[in-house]
Symmetry: C2
Subunit: 267 residues, 2 copies
């Protein structure tokens, strides 16, 4: 069996594959176009901001300019226009983008206009948090199944869904038409769970467990590493220019803990 090694970290640019965009409905974008991975990630951000605007009915003229949206999302306006140009020409020169149209187009491109059924495996602290996370159950994702291996947890209800035995995943996933699996187990179980999910026909996995997953080539794994970002912060903290931080300068030479006193805010 051919085994693909999952990309490291949560870097969207790790694998630079392009995906031909063949969105139905966009007649301007008739020819298939490759959308860069980095652009896809930003489109999701644009979509969120736009949805927010629309919901709050904030934008008076119902159009928004690239500079305006760029500012709201923290990107360069040229980059934003280039990103949007991958969807086709939905902007009006001299005016901007129609918020409703743009929202719809991005939604369509991202596949957010239809619901994706998600199976969540591992109902520990993190798993339960994810089960109730608004950004998960909203945004076109429907958590359709919960799994765990702990008999203590199996049978309990979380967010109105019953926790099933992970060993029944194969049958349940096929029955419910789940296409995306989320792994929120400890690292030690992640690979086994991934194997089961793959066996159940799932082709997209979001992995919150640290470590690398081995899956077949046609299964896409994305990794959210909670501590990775923290370590990157720590790196920058340790390497601050001496001008910016005097404390970091001392840390460079010896592992001297800068603050010896006042440990924690204990009750």
């Amino acid at each position: 069996m051919s085994v693909a090694t999952a990309p490291v970290g949560c870097d969207p640019t790790a694998e630079a594959k392009r995906v031909t965009s063949q969105v139905g409905g966009g007649r301007v974008n008739s020819r298939a176009r490759a959308i860069p991975e980095a652009t896809v990630a930003r489109l999701a951000v644009y979509l969120r901001v736009l949805s927010g605007l629309e919901e709050r009915g904030e934008h008076p003229g119902s159009t928004i300019s690239s500079t305006e949206l760029a500012q709201s999302t923290g990107v360069n306006s040229a980059k934003l226009r280039k990103d949007l140009s991958f969807l086709g020409s939905y902007g009006i020169r001299g005016v901007g983008y129609d918020v409703a149209t743009l929202t719809d187009q991005i939604s369509r491109t991202l596949g957010a206009h239809r619901a994706h059924r998600v199976a969540l495996v591992g109902l520990g602290n993190l798993g339960q948090a994810l089960a109730g996370y608004p950004g998960f159950s909203g945004r076109g994702f429907v958590i359709s199944a919960l799994f765990d291996a702990d008999p203590e947890r199996i049978g309990r209800d979380v967010s109105g869904l019953r926790i099933e035995d992970i060993h029944d995943a194969r049958a349940i996933c096929r029955l419910t038409g789940v296409t995306i699996g989320v792994i929120a187990t400890p690292a030690s179980a992640a690979q086994q769970v991934a194997d089961i999910l793959v066996g159940a026909g799932i082709r997209s996995i979001l992995n919150f467990a640290p470590g690398v997953l081995n899956v077949p080539d046609d299964v896409e794994v994305r990794h959210v590493d909670l501590s990775l970002q923290l370590q990157i912060l720590a790196f920058h903290e340790a390497h601050r220019t001496p001008a910016a931080a005097s404390a970091a300068a001392a840390g460079g030479q010896l592992p001297t803990p800068a603050q010896p006193a006042a440990l924690a805010v204990r009750s």
Copy 2:
């Protein structure tokens, strides 16, 4: 006040700043060298894998080759060697890298050899999960303070730490020498919390709330967007080539891995 817009998503390459590496101890690497952001992210992964090997005492000769480590971490071996070369020449040609030395060097470079004090804001589901997350409290990070704005939560204990009022953050953060702040609040509160943290002297923020944070230039923000990765998966799901999609539809029968009997998904 000069305001920088935080980079979008969790893309490490979003801002391409280099950091001069002036790690004490590495005499081979005497001249300051710029370590790319992407490399830093991978170094953290290497470190985790190496630590795992070391703890389990798995590696017999106490050395490991680049190909071997590359396979364990899911990267190209050349890339791995180039990454490690930023630390200096700690490999031995014809042999590999000494696991202990390598671990130590990466640790040092990442600033993981000394403890970083972290303040966690927002003790909802996600916040509580983070408070108990082993990859957080381990790996050189010490959660030193918990904050929330909800009177219901203030005063309660989570993971042996008392939840304090966010409005006392300024005093408490300075007292405890916290340098990193983690925001796990709803999006609506994130900006206010960020302002408070910045006011308390914190210069590194890990943000789990969706949306963009505005902070001064000298404050670094990293963003973990839980739903972003899911949306990227959905995009790929929606844009699968028809050939691959049909192959995957029948994918149940073929690559079924050995269903493991002993499976422990506990936490």
